[in-house]
């Protein structure tokens, strides 16, 4: 079916939609992409691009293995043994492994609160989650004016669970004492303690608690955030610790390409399944499979409203009034504009409507309660459609949309659009056209084999050229993960790092627009964001971040050496000179001052470190 469609003829009728921004393209000089990168920089360059930044020892390890072999291995993540430390970190993050229905039933999302309040759903099994749900149900009922005067106190009062001395320690003890006490809480009473503990105390102890206990605190204090908490923690731990670095880079890339916003209604509990089932398995697979997985995912159906798109004539009301629901074009438009063809990919408003008609009936069973995809024949538009010149005969049912996905996945505009987006992320903001042509050719030849397209790019001379070297400004997550990796910091609490990333302008899972985040350099260098990077850099090196420890003694008293340790190459003369001045100034005030942490922080906040 995929190949049998005569695509060659259909582009005559394509009318370009008005371009989104009418910026004139300046003449671009591509000559730097012809200059080969010196051998000794190639390894650092590859590590900078295909990982979330090198860790100490990585450069040597890749050299030893051979660069080509290492890249090939990264392209086959299934052959790489995963870091056991990562598995340990992910273990407590339960929602990552649940089905949608389980996620819905387990966490106090607004949807669950309502469902429990009206008796449509039972509260969760987990005692801490149950307490959180019950508390919110009471609030919900009070707001509805049906306060049933149930007592708000926990089942067992705090004072009965812990001795007066223990409570005093938790209030006024030092961090070690508090930590020790928390670690020794008896297993059987731990949930009761969490439920009974006053919320400000939970907040205060958050960074000191074990990961399991911390998650319980989170569930008790900010129950609506727990699914996001799990996602954000896992995203950070994977970026920092995974041995399958390119795979994680690509999960980030493809999630962003098929972006879904966690704060839109049911997407609050649909995203763990989305990332795990629709994105993750396909990041190096075939584009058509990735497209299918996203198109039929409840998360995407909900986010871009296709779940409520119906053929208007199927929902006519008997009194002749206009139907309350109808065709919704949102998904159809973004599918072509953002997921496949690109804005100049050659489709018209008419095509958008035709595609939307094909997708009527692609919906979700019980959308507000974690239901799965289903095709609702009753609201499907049964007429004939013409998409990009291809006739899709009447009465095709669910297959109408499958045909659309075939057409789009095999369209030359898609090959170009996807190749360019990959090259913009991995090579440079303005990748040379010859490289894009070769990548697009591979895409077409292999029917969208992403691994092969990646290979064409990573084996190209343009990838290992002076034009690509340090050509990209790190995105906030790349900046923060690479700083953690470069300093070999131990992270025991990743969530605050995710919040930092949000402050730098890239709130994880919270890009509201279907465009996803841009990888363009200009996007990431705003005033507030640069200040945020500098403040993060200094705080990290001076061990001022909760739950993150850097071993300062790793760094040298010689700032040039410290810079090399962090950057894996020499700092620029300007950066070195500025650090030398700062350190000399410190030493003139106090000859014995220890400056390793300061100089490491200055390197991490320098212009040099913002590039990859």
């Amino acid at each position: 079916m995929r190949k049998s469609l005569a695509l060659g003829l259909i582009f005559f009728c394509a009318l370009a939609l008005p371009a989104r921004t009418s910026k004139k393209k300046p003449e671009i000089d591509y000559s730097q992409f012809q200059k080969k990168l010196p051998k000794d920089l190639q390894v650092v360059h590859a590590l900078d691009r295909l990982t979330f930044g090198p860790r100490p020892g990585d450069v040597e390890a890749v050299r030893k293995m051979g660069l080509k072999k290492w890249i090939d291995l990264q392209l086959h993540p299934e052959r790489i043994k995963e870091n056991p430390e990562l598995d340990k970190k992910i273990e407590p993050l339960e929602s990552l492994r649940m089905t949608q229905a389980e996620t819905f039933a387990s966490y106090p999302t607004p949807q669950l609160i309502r469902a429990v309040a009206v008796g449509r759903q039972r509260p969760p099994e987990d005692p801490v989650a149950r307490a959180a749900v019950e508390r919110q149900v009471r609030r919900f009922k009070a707001r509805q004016g049906q306060d049933d005067n149930m007592p708000m106190e926990p089942a067992v009062p705090f004072e009965e669970l812990l001795t007066r001395d223990q409570i005093r320690t938790l209030r006024t003890g030092n961090n070690d004492q508090k930590k020790e006490l928390l670690d020794q809480l008896p297993e059987e009473s731990i949930d009761d303690v969490v439920v009974a503990m006053p919320p400000p105390m939970r907040n205060q102890l958050m960074a000191l608690a074990s990961p399991v206990l911390r998650r319980k605190f989170m569930l008790a204090n900010q129950p609506q955030q727990v699914v996001f908490y799990d996602l954000a923690e896992a995203k950070l731990y994977r970026a920092i610790l995974s041995n399958r670095q390119l795979n994680e880079e690509l999960v980030d890339f493809w999630y962003n390409h098929f972006n879904v916003y966690i704060d839109k209604g049911a997407d609050r509990f649909l995203i763990p399944t989305y990332e795990r089932q629709a994105i993750r398995p396909h990041v190096l697979g075939h584009f058509r499979d990735l497209l299918e997985a996203t198109a039929s995912s409840p998360a995407m159906l909900f986010y871009l409203d296709n779940w409520q798109s119906v053929a208007p004539e199927t929902v006519k009301r008997p009194n002749g009034k206009a139907p309350q629901r109808g065709l919704n074009e949102n998904y159809a438009r973004e599918l072509m504009e953002l997921h496949t063809l690109g804005v100049d990919g050659g489709y018209t408003q008419k095509d958008i409507i035709e595609v939307a008609r094909c997708f009527t009936g692609w919906t979700i069973r019980n959308p507000q309660q974690g239901g799965d995809f289903f095709f609702n024949e009753k609201v499907h538009d049964k007429g004939q459609k013409i998409v990009l010149g291809v006739t899709i005969p009447a009465a095709g049912g669910k297959d109408d949309a499958e045909k659309v996905l075939d057409i789009l996945a095999n369209h030359p505009s898609t090959a170009k659009f996807i190749s360019k987006k990959l090259a913009q992320r991995f090579v440079a903001d303005n990748p040379p056209p010859e490289l894009l042509d070769r990548m697009a050719k591979t895409f077409e030849k292999t029917h969208g084999d992403i691994r092969e397209v990646m290979k064409t790019m990573l084996e190209s001379k343009e990838f290992f050229s002076a034009g690509a070297y340090r050509a990209k400004v790190k995105t906030p997550i790349e900046m923060i993960a690479s700083a953690i990796r470069a300093t070999d910091a131990q992270v025991d609490y990743a969530f605050p790092l995710a919040q930092r990333i949000g402050q730098l302008g890239e709130p994880l899972y919270r890009k509201q627009e279907p465009t996803g985040y841009s990888s363009a350099n200009a996007e990431w260098v705003s005033s507030a964001s640069l200040l945020g990077r500098m403040n993060f850099a200094l705080a990290l090196a001076q061990n001022k971040l909760p739950g993150v420890r850097v071993d300062i003694t790793r760094f040298s008293n010689d700032p040039a050496e410290t810079a090399r340790l962090v950057l894996f190459t020499d700092a620029t003369p300007q950066t070195r000179a500025a650090i030398d001045t700062a350190l000399a100034d410190q030493k003139s005030k106090d000859p014995k001052v220890v400056t390793q942490a300061l100089s490491a922080g200055l390197v991490l906040g320098s212009p040099d470190f913002q590039r990859r």
Binding site: R143, D263, Q503, Q512, L538
Partner: protein, 410 residues
Amino acid sequence: MNRRIFLKSSAMAMVGVGSTPVWLSRALYAQDAPSPRKTILVAIFQRGAVDGLNVVVPHGEQRYYDLRPTIAVPRPDGTPDSAIDLDGFFGLHPSLRTLKPIYDSGHLAIVHAVGSPDPTRSHFDAQDYMESGTPGRKATTDGWLNRALVTEERKSPVRAVSFSADLPRTLRGLNDAVAIANLSDFQVRDPRGASTFESMYAGTMDKVLNGTGRETFEAVKLMQAIQKQQYTPAHDAKYPNGRLGQSMRQIAQLIKSDVGLEVAFTDVGGWDTHVNEVGPKASVGQLPNLLNDLGQTLAAFCQDLGDRMADVTVVTMSEFGRTARENGNRGTDHGHANVMFAIGGDIKGGKVYGDWPGMADEQLYESRDLNLTTDFRDVLGELVTRHLGNRQIANVFPGYNDPKFRGLVL
């Protein structure tokens, strides 16, 4: 005193000799420098969809009272729980009484039955459309308030500021814009780092980072300079303590510091009043509390700025209105058209603008919501063109080719 001398003395007094930021000295001393004293637009987004029908009450419309038996604001009768009459047909909610003097002085214009033509009743989509300025078009990447900035050579690092943690959608785009959660946090916290980073970014060959780095430290210096003195609002203006009041206080501080602010943005949530919108009296409940905060903030802002309001316009907006009928929970659900305020020295106020669509069943949008008679882009477009002086309206609101200005600006 001519404008340049005024500028020089006030800005220099603020910044102090020896620490004049590059941008400011450029502005102060260059012959062809733009005056930082420009017209300024302040946009306030009321997130959650405010119930415009209970904010500016059509007390002359019997249907309003029929459709809202328990939550309508009573007809003006001079008591503190009735509407404050504006023109015999419309009245202000009593919790907005601080705005009445501004209306009477001719500096508050109200537009009713205004909003986005897009039929969506999703907060998510509607806010998105109103911030991008392109209803129905989800993939627009920048916002109208960013596009409203006129491109120019020498620009202030703080020409576009949002008082929020993240840069909101409406300020994203090609022009530089800064998000400031709080003025006092806008700095490198470790003093040993600040000067070092400044010289690194000033010296780097990296063009992208060099440019923004320079602007950043200029902005930081400006912010720190204007904070050297404790800010005391003028004319005994008292801002409420909430986030909105404090954001507007800092916007006033920036305006009075003459640092080149052109557009500012802040938002305030809580307007999604499905339940108990109004309590037993019109002046108590969720909506009255929020209106009280809004009214006091706007009044304090005008009072604080005094004559400086000649350069400034404040505009309010919200993603859509609420149902004409009250629901079963003394609240209202998601609707369509709404109300907007414009306050400023060059605003032709003292009037409720817009054609009143009526509230009979057949006059309501989809038989349930107030119908739209003014597109929100007509209001914003007029402010952008006539107040900010940006004539490239087709760039600011692409695809909206035929704006109908209402004549709000003098």
